[in-house]
Amino acid sequence: MKNALAKYRKWSWYEATARERIAALLDSGSFTEFIGPEKREISPHLVLFDLPEAFDDGIIVGRGMVQSRQVLLAAQEGRFMGGTFGEVHGAKLVGLLRYARDDQDAPRVVLLLLDTGGVRLQEANVGELAVSEIIRAVLEARMAGVTVIAMIGGRAGCFGGGGIIAGCCSRIVISEQGRTSVSGPEVIETNMGVEEFDSRDRPLVWRTTGGKTRRLLGGADAYAEDSIDSFRDAAFSLLDRIPAFELDTVEKEHARLAQRLEKFGQCHDAPEIWKAMGIAEPDGIADLSDEVFNQIAQAQKEANHDAR
């Protein structure tokens, strides 16, 4: 079994399913799932739309060990309904975060393996409520001293309410394949027109929402290669650099966002921002290897501000 899992560790995070990510991220045999698929806590709404259900409603929550350290974790399955937040899906995550908040014996680290397009449209109102409850639960857990780390590198990216939830976490890890934002490319194009944003222009989508851009701007705190091993290492490298969750941190972050707008508000595309940041070859960022990119990102003040 150990050898069987070893092969997953080098596996692409992007290609892996949520359960494969968990199996390879955690120490072998250490995972205990809460409300597993055999409990059949399925969405009560999808049947009304004659749509297929999943036994875990697209999210797996539980506890386990990473390099002998206890963690709680939640993993969204981006391929089921786009990893969207429905009523049950959201409630499972809220329960996990409240457990971390309330039980002093619970692990003090929560890993959120986000892979989501946002609220599940078929469960619109309860989905929105779920996102609000999750945001509150993340913030309350952080106030109770829990570290919540978002890991973004899946097929669905991390959009809509998922983008807001990620922004509320203690730290964010992202890969080049990872994308995060609130309104996704198709939503922007639908509302504002193709001249504002062409969602079929893949390089543009990645330059705007992709992992490299997010990391350089400081919207993500660590950059991982697209492997489960690299995500684990990147997340754990952040654990000793968790900002205090207090008013001072929030005020610093607001000041930093105001500065960012002032500095880069006139830029029309990501390479203009990178140029303004003093990066030598801004047009070549997309082609850089993960290793070289990480060196550049780590040297950037903008990317490594204490207040994210």
Partner: protein, 104 residues
């Protein structure tokens, strides 16, 4: 959505000691298979919910073939299908019984 139930006796009980396992994802052209060791003797029950209607005969052929090859006695198998092809269904079912072969 179409629901199907297939009830059949297998030649032997499924090996391993795992009480339940799941494999696959409900997505277009894919399916999830939940296996639970809850039935007596060599009974096997397969419950299918599929988004593609009218393939009753194909499902029965695929499941009968699976039960003959893998002898999943004692297992209740529940499937949520997003329109997977028969070969994908066979593969997931085989992955499922392999999963159940673990000790716990």
């Amino acid at each position: 959505m179409e629901k199907l139930q297939i009830h059949q006796k297998a030649a032997r009980r499924a090996s391993g000691g795992k009480s339940h396992g799941i494999t696959g994802v409900v997505a277009s052209g894919n399916l999830e298979v939940l296996l639970e060791r809850v039935l007596d003797g060599t009974e096997c029950e397969v419950n299918i919910k599929t988004s593609v209607e009218g393939f009753d005969a194909v499902w029965r052929a695929v499941i009968n073939d699976f039960i003959e090859r893998h002898s999943p006695g004692g297992l209740r198998i529940s499937i949520n299908d997003g329109g997977a092809r028969p070969d994908t269904v066979s593969l997931r079912l085989a992955q499922g019984v392999r999963l159940m072969e673990a000790d716990r």
